[in-house]
Symmetry: C2
Subunit: 358 residues, 2 copies
DNA sequence: CTGAAAGCGCTTACAG
DNA sequence: CTGAAAGCGCTTACAG
């Protein structure tokens, strides 16, 4: 069904090459417009059932598939959305990509892959993708400094949804997860285990995402009458290497101090993985000496040693909702903080009750 | 440069909407064909330098970008390639995707994302992508059973390159890494450390990739006068969970036996990660009791505890070469086993000399 | 070498 | 309701 039938043996004089609408019309002995309307389910058509059937059968048998370019030229819709991500190497955004792709497929749309850095550096690539009417809209990963500032320009030229990180552009549609609730849950989990002093290896200082995550921690601590001390927080890139360095910095600060945090939150899973490595390298037992918990649940979280306590954000749904919002054609400038489904806590072996004070 | 200029204030009577070639021609006071030829660097053009300059400037100032659909209709080239992968969740194929995307970008091509499973299940999606002249060619991830059998059909309709895993279709162009050399290197590393008996948690039994990897191990052992015993090999899916189960199965077999392997090779990094987890769970110290090494180097390899010895395959280059091959328009049916760059060994903490016999 | 004309394949006002 | 005609924006034989 629907798959390209093996082309019939070319009869002498038969046209070769892909099947066009004209071929279908001729085979079904109807006009080309009627064939078009029937195939596109035009409700205004009143063709006799048998005519209709003849058209559908001809299309089926010839393996007719409309030429995407021709249709796009006529209706000025491409059936393509651009997905512009930052550096394809991060495992964290795969879920978002999957969600976006699946939702796009549901609408018979395809996703074209773009890269933030390339688009910033290569004007031609930028122009072709954004101004070449190559795609009907763009899903752009926010939170990347220089690029964020250009997004408003892009949004003026093309329907655009920023995902993942809120950016400072009010007139741009944005979809992002509930970061604050996520870290609040993570912190409450630690408090529930008995921790009273919690440290943070945060993301970059300028990152809005990082700030939201910190807000969740602060809120949870505040409710318990506690606070996140300035000295218990370091900033890191969103990488394992930086996470390693971040924890080492904290360990340095704690040198010889009896009164120190018993748990550390990692700004994301990569940072968390680096922290586990640093802890092992410095003889800090997790969770006996120190509990570690991170934002994002990835394939590796449960297989680390010790397995890593995380909170997962609904990134798949962020992708889904972003594409749906884009294709809904509604007004721009909407901000959606995705609260449903909520973040999910995954308590694992890296968190436990704090060591009893010596 | 090249970026869409902010549209001028619309003068009364001015046409609104995107700039067309006709607008450029009019502004430069030349015919539309001449404008087209100059903008496309037609070498036959002998226009006066000032005419040429006028055209380029008009295009620049109006922010002209050719309509992709219109051009595609005319020249029957879309400027798009399909990248059909299996399940976007695997961290292993990100490198391949990056390589493919970068090379495509170099040729001003964009990548459209497809999914193997979806294409198998959704005839419409399949038809639109493959027969809709939506893309000029396809890079398809091989090694996925049912889909492999359909690839030859696809290749008949559209230039196609299979990447990553060789498939059993001689007339289809294929690009894959040198799996055998990779595992040979890994095994030689273990032999060099003094191991004499090496076990394997392999990929699925039917996987060609898995067979090639096993061949490399066997070859290296053979050269050293050793062999991979049947009892020292188990098969697993390409997942961490399966790797965990795989090592547990081996540990079971070794129960109470003095003479047992001192090193295990993991069919890929996910399996390796699962194995490290299983070892820790069962009190097997890595590398003191057992060395573990895996195929593929991912972001997490060096941050695991212990850090995981791996061999990295040039997946980035596989992607690059696949796209280049596709765009070269050469004949099909070529098989490229990528031997340059060669696999790279990353010796880390998970491998060491075998324990001295009690 | 350049311009006027044709046409890629489709959809949709426009007549009938 | 349906068919003949127009036209989306581009490139390229075809004349000049």
């Amino acid at each position: 069904m629907g798959r390209p039938a093996t082309r019939d043996e070319p009869r002498p004089g038969a046209r070769t090459g892909p099947v066009r609408l004209a071929d279908v019309a001729k085979a079904a002995k109807v006009s080309q417009p009627l064939a078009s309307r029937v195939l596109n389910d035009d409700p205004a058509v009143r063709a006799a059932p048998e005519t209709r059937a003849r058209i559908l059968e001809a299309a089926e048998q010839l393996g007719y598939v409309p030429h995407a370019g021709a249709r796009s030229l006529r209706v000025s819709r491409t059936g393509l959305l651009g997905l512009v991500v930052h550096d394809l190497s991060s495992p964290i955004y795969l879920e978002l990509m999957r969600g976006a792709r699946e939702e796009a497929a549901r609408h018979r749309y395809f996703l074209v892959l773009g890269d933030v850095d390339e688009l910033l550096q290569d004007d031609d690539a930028f122009t072709i993708l954004v101004s070449g009417r190559r795609v009907d809209g763009l899903v752009v990963q926010g939170g990347h400094g220089e690029f964020d500032r250009r997004i408003a320009d892009i949004a003026r030229a093309l329907p655009t949804v920023v995902v993942n990180a809120p950016i400072d552009q009010d007139d741009v549609t944005q979809v992002y997860p509930d970061e604050t609730t996520a870290t609040r849950m993570l912190t409450q989990h630690l408090l529930g285990l008995g921790h009273r002093r919690v440290a943070l290896v945060a993301g970059p200082r300028q990152s809005m995402t990082s700030r939201l995550r910190e807000a969740g921690i602060t809120a949870a601590l505040d409710t318990a009458g506690l606070e996140l001390r300035e000295e218990d927080r370091v900033h890191a890139d969103w990488t394992a290497d930086a996470g390693r360095a971040g924890l080492e910095e904290l360990l340095d600060r704690w040198q010889g101090r009896a009164d120190r945090p018993t748990a550390v939150v990692a700004g994301n899973t990569l940072i968390g993985v680096g922290m586990l490595g640093a802890a092992a390298a410095h003889g800090i037992r997790v969770p006996a000496d120190l509990s570690v918990a991170a934002v994002h649940d990835t394939w590796v979280s449960e297989h680390l040693v010790p397995s890593l306590t995380t909170v997962s954000l609904p990134l798949h749904d962020v992708g889904t909702v972003a594409v749906r919002t884009l294709l809904s054609g509604g007004p721009g400038g909407i901000r959606v903080e995705l609260t449903d489904p909520p973040p999910v806590l995954h308590p694992r072996a890296s968190t436990a009750a704090p060591p009893t004070r010596a």
